[in-house]
Symmetry: C2
Subunit: 766 residues, 2 copies
């Protein structure tokens, strides 16, 4: 008997540990109507599922269309009357839907064009048009009086002349190659194509290399006829369409005059000349019809093959003989922002805030960017308001935001965050962002503690065209795109798909990078929706002809993000997961080791080739190239602290995960106060990734796992203190970064361990 009893106990404890709750209930004769929900006690999971299903039935594509039509009817950039009008209209809607809403204002620096001139002086004369003409068939394209003309916000004022040099995408690598090709941009004006990096990086790197001015254009190879028929016949950028955009430097986000504090009316402000965000040289964006005569005027060496665009000419490097005169002057005015903030109060844990946002300002009419995402957010709010009327009461407080001033530099979200920093760090559970949305596949990026949770949500949303789950569709795309059997193997074995890390590019950045609030970005894309980025033609006519024309992916976005918000707001135990987080961090550590090794190997190889005479042997005397500079071989960097600390985090994560498996098993009623404390520890775990001193040279960026690259802008650099140091050959700084990040990982591990202990206690107390 003793023996048999022992076996039976063992079986029970196994099933407690490993089997999902509903299967467990089979024995209790409650057939499982729905799959389990992480973090929900057995009873509440059923209720949650029912409310979520009601929720997902509400969003309506006609509403999405109507919101977009209304909000994109006129240009609504920062400071425009229609920007304010949209904010006020949204405020009234939130209120109508039962939300506690208000508008919060900030006063920010927002330069607008005063003078823009670009002319080719030699060898022929040509004056750039710098205009986007109206198109008859497109009813909002003729609102010139209200449109912001093509320009790059925060370009310094300037009046410069010089020979042209073509610098490809204008990345640091491009300039290295230029040096090898013996071309200097000193005293020249660079012409650079959009792509390859965030646009603000282009004038920054150009200025670092001695250029006097910077002209950015959209090459049809990247963004024009090479990709498809041009507007209005097709979706793609036509010869006159220009990409506007901000070109601030990457030191911090938000108002360039209030780094780290809120630009509330009357706040202290830097002088414009003292802001490190303003460019060092004047910058102007142009269309490819304006670029073509400039590019045709350049001679000198023919560009490397990968630098070729799709204009019908031979791309040369220069300098000159083409010489241009560039004038850029702005009205350096302060403009008022209108952030719309709406709340549904939490019934049980009102001090825990689940946040959601999208920006509402645009460069011009902005149907795709940002309204395609904004209208989904509004429809979510309407649906949640509807549920609330029907009696649903979220445990936690839900806050929806429609940010203003995202386009110039994440102004609305950053100034809000900086103003409310303390309370947000205390209360914010997570922030879910979206922005422009189109057709295709669900793309999720963000904090890896929410990876498992978001995978769970994605399983519950149906793709509107394929009628499989959006998880399945995204998973199968990953298999299709995978290179190599090893990658596919992992995709097939891993329960969750990996989510990408966040860099920069929308309003999540300040939440995550500056405040350590777990953040994710959710959108659908991959099947169209490109082609008019930041031009006047990104409007209702274009969107309803060439993007998510039926608004079914807009509805899917509302369903996905709304489900996530509800689940976060209602969970008994917040669905943070550290196993996926630790696993991801371990892949970063491996990447860093490989990166360092490859930098070492490259330097050694280059030095050997210099010694062998490779570079002089392959230099064509008719197109001479310069050998690269000799570098010292890097000293050894020890990655052991990172390996040890990520191991510690993994171990703690596994302990927490083991405890978690027992959490909902018995359907016990946990002590509410204890749960609240544990939940607070969970959502504050992301704060532990902050370092007070911030990243080397960028103190505003405090997160030590994720940051936009100092020289990529949009693209993320994970464990940036180490990665960027290695990339830039700063070996001492890299070793220091290892120490900083390892300490932080140890703290995170300790906290996760503590959370596991609390959870174990909770369960054993039951």
């Amino acid at each position: 008997m003793k023996h048999l009893l022992a076996v039976s106990i063992c079986l029970v404890s196994l099933s407690l540990g490993a089997v999902p709750p509903q299967q467990h209930q089979v024995g209790e004769k409650n057939p499982p109507p729905l799959p389990p929900l992480q973090g929900f006690l057995a009873g509440s999971a059923q209720t949650e599922r029912q409310w979520e299903e009601k929720f997902r039935a509400i969003p309506n594509t006609d509403n999405l269309r109507e919101y977009m039509k209304l909000m994109s009817a006129r240009p609504h950039h920062v400071g425009s009357p229609y920007d304010k009008q949209n904010a006020e209209w949204m405020l009234s809607k939130f209120k109508e839907w039962g939300w506690d809403a208000h508008i919060e204002n900030f006063d920010v620096l927002f330069p607008t064009p005063k003078e823009r001139r670009l002319e080719l002086l030699e060898p022929t004369r040509f004056v750039a048009k710098l205009e986007e003409p109206p198109i008859d068939i497109d009813p909002t394209s003729n609102q010139q009086a209200e449109q912001l003309p093509p320009y790059n916000a925060y370009s310094i004022d300037g009046d410069v002349s010089g020979p042209l040099v073509y610098v490809n995408y204008g990345t640091r690598d491009d300039y290295e190659q230029l040096a090898r090709l013996d071309v200097s941009v000193k005293g020249a004006i660079v012409i650079v194509r959009y792509g390859g990096s965030w646009r603000g990086i282009k004038p920054k790197v150009a200025a670092e290399h001695g250029a006097l001015g910077c002209i950015i254009y959209s090459d049809p190879a990247d963004d024009g006829y090479a990709n498809g028929e041009v507007y209005p016949r097709g979706a793609w950028r036509n010869k006159d369409a220009v990409q506007r955009g901000s070109v601030t430097d990457t030191y911090f986000a938000g108002d360039p005059l209030t780094p780290g504090w809120g630009s509330v009316p009357g706040a202290r402000r830097l002088e414009i000349k003292d802001s490190p965000l303003i460019t060092k040289i004047p910058v102007l964006p142009i269309s490819y019809s304006d670029a073509q005569p400039l590019l045709a005027s350049i001679q000198g060496q023919v560009v490397p093959e990968k630098w070729r665009g799709a204009l019908p000419l031979t791309y040369h490097l220069g300098p000159g003989p083409g010489k241009v005169h560039l004038v850029v002057k702005s009205n350096w005015d302060t403009k008022r922002l209108y952030d719309v903030i709406a709340k549904l109060p939490g019934a049980e844990a009102a001090g825990q805030w689940v946040m959601r946002g999208n920006h509402h300002d645009a460069w011009v009419n902005g149907a795709s960017d940002p309204l395609s995402g904004m209208v989904a957010v509004l429809e979510e709010a309407r649906a949640l308001g509807e549920l609330h009327k029907q009696g649903w009461r979220p445990k936690r407080t839900i806050i929806y935001a429609a940010w203003d001033g995202e386009e110039p530099g994440l102004l609305g979200s950053t100034e809000f965050l900086e103003t409310h920093m303390e309370e947000l760090q205390q209360h914010a559970v997570a922030y879910i962002n979206s922005d422009n949305n189109s057709r295709g596949f669900l793309r999720v990026s963000g904090s890896h503690s929410l990876e498992r949770f978001l995978n769970g949500v994605a399983h519950d949303i149906e793709d509107p065209e394929k009628h499989i789950s959006v998880w399945d569709r995204a998973h199968l795309l990953r298999i299709a795109d995978a290179t190599g059997a090893e990658v596919r193997d992992e995709l097939r074995k891993r329960a969750d798909w990996r989510i990408r890390a966040l860099g920069d590019g929308s309003d999540y950045a300040s939440f995550l990078d500056h405040a350590g609030i777990a953040a994710v970005d959710i959108r659908f894309s991959g099947e169209g929706g490109e082609g008019q980025y930041h031009s006047i033609y990104d409007d209702f006519y274009w969107y309803t002809h060439f993007s998510d024309t039926q608004f079914i992916y807009g509805r899917a976005l509302a369903q996905t993000a709304g489900t996530a918000i509800m689940r976060l707001a209602d969970a008994d135990l917040l669905p943070f997961d550290f196993v996926g987080q630790a696993d991801t961090i371990k892949t970063y550590v491996k990447e860093l080791e490989r990166l360092f090794k490859s930098q070492q190997d490259e330097i050694r190889e280059r030095n050997l080739e210099l010694q062998e005479g490779v570079f002089s042997a392959i230099s064509d005397p008719q197109k001479p190239t310069q050998p690269p500079a000799r570098m010292e071989t890097p000293p050894v960097i020890s990655f052991a602290p990172l390996q040890n600390s990520s191991d510690a985090l993994q171990k703690a994560a596994q302990r927490y995960d083991a405890a978690l498996k027992n959490f909902p098993a018995g359907g016990f009623k946990a002590n509410a106060a204890t749960l609240t404390t544990l939940n607070e520890r969970l959502y504050k775990s992301e704060r532990l990734f902050l370092s007070e001193k911030g990243l080397p040279g960028r103190p505003w960026f405090k997160h030590q796992i994720y940051a936009p690259g100092a020289y990529t802008g949009y693209a993320v650099k994970t464990i940036p203190a180490v990665r960027e140091a290695i990339e830039q050959y700063k070996w001492t700084e890299a070793q220091e970064g290892v120490t900083t990040v390892s300490d932080i990982l140890q703290k995170e591990a300790a906290s996760v361990n503590e959370a596991a202990a609390q959870l174990e206690q909770l369960i054993s107390a039951h």
Copy 2:
């Protein structure tokens, strides 16, 4: 004492085995003035070196320029008066330089244009120009009366109309992708760009897929302004320049009416309709200015990114709406070829022939193709004649050839070879080919039994611009171009650089592929020399402005090939090496195993993805794609016979190599008859690679190690009976190929063993 003695003997035998002869002679107080020469006895090596140095001082760049100016003065295609005149002029020069020379004639099928018409019928009308206009500054570009207009020789006559489909390079992979994109070419006329495969493959594959006609054009991305300024401002193809060329199928080389036998006047001939070489559908080449309206008329899906060309339009797949009418008619005449054959008789082994050739016919004026190589060959002949006058007497007979009719299909060389097959197989030691030559790096391809020998030659030639050896320069380029540390490591450790295997594209093909005569192709390239391939602008003005303008690489080519010819003609023991050959063959065997594995893996993966629903999940309903067909997983193929036979060859090669190291050691006088027999075995070793039945489906191609691909044309397929079968999913044929090739490798191994035994005996007899 006994112990010491043993050590001393051991040292001596080591030095006998491993140290080069001149170092060995140090002890004999003959300081080595020059490095060793493989295959030369100690005394003859010195003499050889002295004659070679004299030889290399003779070639003169002014002569090269004068020969080219004269021979390119008028169009000299097959059947033209100037083709004959050039042949007769060369004959007179060979004679003047002391050679025993004659002209050998063949009568071959050579169609020339009778009617060419191409018009766009819908949606707009456009008539293609099909002409290359004269350019004022270029004095030979106005010889319209004598020029062959742009056409593809051996296109079948036809008059067809149909919608256009764009098929990229028109390879089999491209059609597979088209099928996935749900586009068929049945009943359509394909428009295909030059590149990616030999041009004859394009109509072949198009016809296999049901197309009615084929238009081939030069896209500026591959061959036009994207690469550099266009002619006459720069070297590159301008909007009107057209690439002519033959489009025969790949069953055999030579006259399409005399497969396997010589087209001597009066020979038996197939009927034209029975020749498998004529295309199945009409084909016409056009310029990119003629192509642009046609491409602009195509709608339907936008092409995959890699299919985009550089014309300023959106490339679509079609079919239509653009519809064209294509008419191609030829005069199907027989034309006379003029091969110039010149001999310097061998003094000791007159029955062993060392051969050298280049073609002299062109599509039009042909300064680069073929005269840049032809004039170097002539200058070699003058220099060798000069040495002969000074008393130099080659051991072996040297035969120089200026081939006619290469452009239409290697006619002159193939008909010569087929006519003299028996005696060439008996007497030919090796054939060294060249063709167009430009600036840059020495490129050597060919039989790997000559790899070590040609590396030795390359060490002795100075690069005219860098003043390092052409070996060093080519070696350093390989390091610069290498991808990965492993490849660079091998490059640095291996004494010889690897030479490439030969496919098709010039007159070496019949020698190697049909007759098993060891062949190599030598040329300089990599720094210009492109841009006017097969257009009227490939002329003296173009060459002397944009290619090897000083003719210094022409001189280097004469020095390189002439040195190789002299060394082959004078060696006591022919410098064939089997270690490099076996090593190369073993790399091919490994490639085949990897290829099979990857085919297996791909099929398994594809089947799994079909089952998972990957293809339907990623198909955009607005741009639907078709899933690929399910395939059976391939059965296991045993590569053991290839592994064993290549091991056997390697072992035999090492044995021969060990014997070889002792060959010149003592400076012994070998028995001349024995050496002659051994030499004959050596040069006939390449014959052993032939199989009487030839390749599957291509019996004329008998070589089992090298062949042009049936679906690549130019590009080589090594061990083709196995490789092409695997590529085409013919598993049984692949296993049969393994058996055939393994048997052949065993025969080669046995012969090399026998050669080693003979050499060992020779040395021990000394």
